[in-house]
């Protein structure tokens, strides 16, 4: 048994005029939940499409399960949910799932069994004989999810699995992914929602403009950032607090949530100085804690604030 599920070696993909992915190295161990993080246009989808052999890299090598065959010949072992996903609108739900199972390379009968189990599990049994177009959007998303996973693959590749999901479905999908990880399957998913990645992944890689910025176990990535992070909450005199936090001698970066904030201290400053300054300014402090940095703040530190605004506008727009 090989313990590396996916290896990328100096993979490069160029499009007319720009490089989407540049000399990317990645190693995804078997049984890990791997988050591929990055702003829009970072090359996440291109990377995933190359892993799925939908795109062919211009340079470099991609190895799945330590072996030679391309992913399509291994489709029975891989579940893939692309960012652009859809269903045959006129087809019945069950038949559609049976078909999707079949093209992955499992038998028709087995595919039917699995599809029925999954529909029951996600509470869609009553809809099995209905056409896809009769389903609500949320139900269609569940069906898409089942379509990618019903053949119980050992490697699950999900491109932005949680984008566009309502909170209830988001929860359902998260449970499914966690369950798969618990069974020892490898999960690779891309996202730009950091909270999700923080809670689910044991490994992350952050890429931007086609290049890898950070890569490793989540805990190591957090420790490796080296900055001191302080979580704050105020109950009084927030304006004064804002003035103190604007002091670049003390604070390098602020992630302000209004009533609370997460700040990254300036390299030469320490927590005591910040606490003193805040107390001195008459701010009512209800929380002051030196914490591990959140993935969000690491992401922003690495990728830059301009990328953050792009993401914020997209999240609000979606």
């Amino acid at each position: 048994m090989h313990d590396i599920a996916i290896t990328l070696e100096r993979v490069t993909k160029r499009y007319a005029g720009h490089t989407a992915v540049h000399a990317l190295d990645l190693m995804i161990p078997r049984g890990s939940v791997f988050g591929l993080l990055g702003p829009n246009g970072a090359g996440k989808s291109t990377t995933i499409r190359m892993i799925m052999n939908i795109l062919v890299p211009d340079e470099g090598r991609i190895v799945l399960f330590g072996g030679e065959p391309a992913s399509r010949d291994l489709s029975a072992r891989i579940g893939y949910l692309p960012e652009e996903r859809g269903l045959y609108r006129k087809m019945q739900v069950l038949e559609q799932l049976v078909f999707l199972g079949e093209v992955k390379g499992i038998s028709r009968r087995r595919s039917r069994e699995l599809a029925e189990q999954w529909l029951a599990r996600l509470g869609l049994s009553d809809w099995a004989a209905r056409r896809v177009e009769d389903l609500s959007k949320g139900m269609q998303q569940k069906v898409q999810f089942i379509g990618a996973l019903l053949h119980e693959p050992e490697l699950v590749v999900l491109d932005e699995p949680f984008s566009g999901l309502d909170p209830v479905n988001s929860q359902v999908m998260k449970d499914v992914v966690v369950e798969m990880a618990r069974q020892g399957r490898t999960v690779l998913f891309s996202t730009h929602i950091m909270e999700q990645a923080e809670r689910m992944c044991d490994r992350v890689a952050i890429i931007a403009r086609g290049e890898k910025l950070v890569d490793g176990k989540l805990a190591e990535v957090k420790r490796g950032s080296g900055d001191v992070h302080v979580a704050l909450a105020f109950h009084r005199n927030r304006e004064a607090a804002a003035r103190v936090l604007a002091d670049r001698a003390l604070v390098a970066r602020t992630d302000d949530y209004g009533a609370s904030a997460e700040v990254t201290l300036a390299p030469q400053a320490n927590g005591d100085a910040l606490l003193q300054a805040l107390v001195g300014a008459g701010v009512g402090i209800s929380r002051f804690e030196v914490v591990e940095p959140s993935l969000q703040s690491i992401f922003i530190a690495k990728v830059g604030a301009d990328a953050l605004t792009a993401i914020a506008s997209e999240v609000n727009g979606a």
């Binding site: 799925m52 489709s75 692309p82 859809g86 078909f99 079949e102 390379g105």
Partner: protein, 459 residues
Amino acid sequence: MHKVLAVIRREFVERVRTRAFLLSTLLFPALMIGMTVLPVLLDRRAQAPKRVAVLDGATGEAGSRVADALAAARRNGGSGGARYAVTRVLAGDNPERRRDSLVRQVGLRGESDGLDGVLVLTDDAVASGKIPYYGVNVGSPQDMRRLETEVQTALRLERLRRAGIDPFVALPALRAIDLEPQKVSDGAVTGESGSASFLLAYTMSFLLYLALLLYGNQVMTSVVEEKSSRISEVLMGSLRPFQLLLGKVLGVGAVGLVQLAVWAGTAMALTRFRVQLAGLFGVAPDALRTMPIPEVSPGLLAVFLLFFVLGFLFFASMYAAVGSTCSTVQETQQAALPVTMTIAVGLILMFSLFGEPNGKLARLLSLLPPFAPFMTPVRHALVHLSAFEIAVSALLLAAGVVAVAWLAGQIYRTGILMHGRRASLREVWRYAVLKTMRRWRRLTPVIWRRWPRSWAMCC
């Protein structure tokens, strides 16, 4: 292979289940039955004898013979009721006035003195053969031809008598002849009648044309729908573009075959069971006009089917490739123009070369894959090509199919991931052709070494 079968089955089952398929499959046979039976039924309704007055201004028995001949005419080849109700009117002293008063009666309905037409016989007319007829039904070529035949036969007898010849001696000598063409190829009689193979060639190439336009377009639409419903990338995760393309072309092709088989079967059944069918509607069997089913040699039929299938694969792959470069069904109509034009040109060239099926141009076109599906079977039906010539044409076409399917697969894999805009020709060329050629150059040694496996991977 299992995956391709799954695509074929999905494409077939989903299509056959639609109401549109059911309607179009059943509507055509219903139309055929209607077209066969309706004219007869309508004709029967108009079976009241035509009231014809013969204004007899000729000397001798000419008038009475014509009147008798008309009165004796029967419908349905002699078995039906009288075709004409004839009144013979003597012209008397003033034939013009007599004629005018008769003409005034023409067209009067339901009255006892109404007429449908007036036939004017004079000695001049009998001699010159120009017989005036005033009637309401002069617009019907069928009616006029029948009347002409009856009058002609009667007057021939009368003319013979006037010339002092016994008509019963002369008539057999006057019997019309029918040319019976027999097709000869390589010095042997094939047993097919010339008109039958011509008709078959004509029908088959038209069927191919129809099938290409109908089902080729369906392949294209189906590709675009997959793109616009965003399922194509889901499928790309497990299927090679070529597998998807192959499954689609074969699946839609199978649907087309079923539909064509139902239609052809109906046509055959109509001819075969026309006696029963006639009984069902209570009309004489001979009156049913059915499509003639030509006698075809199995060899000719095999050639037809071979070129039909290859032709379909050739053009349907092209349609699929075109579909993959478009995002909406509207776009495809314009993008598919080159393909549709090629098909139309093939059909037109085939028609224009009917006269010279063994000319230089015809021979050349048989060797070009886009035109071979039309040219070769038709030429074979007309002049009987040698096995060698057919084989060369079929092999070239098959090579064309492989090349087009490969190219289509390349365009498909590029086009299918592009949304929102049409892939330009340059992009298609760059991605599909140049890139793959580069990859091929790298892969060629590998492919030779592992030929069997690479072949298996394609399916």
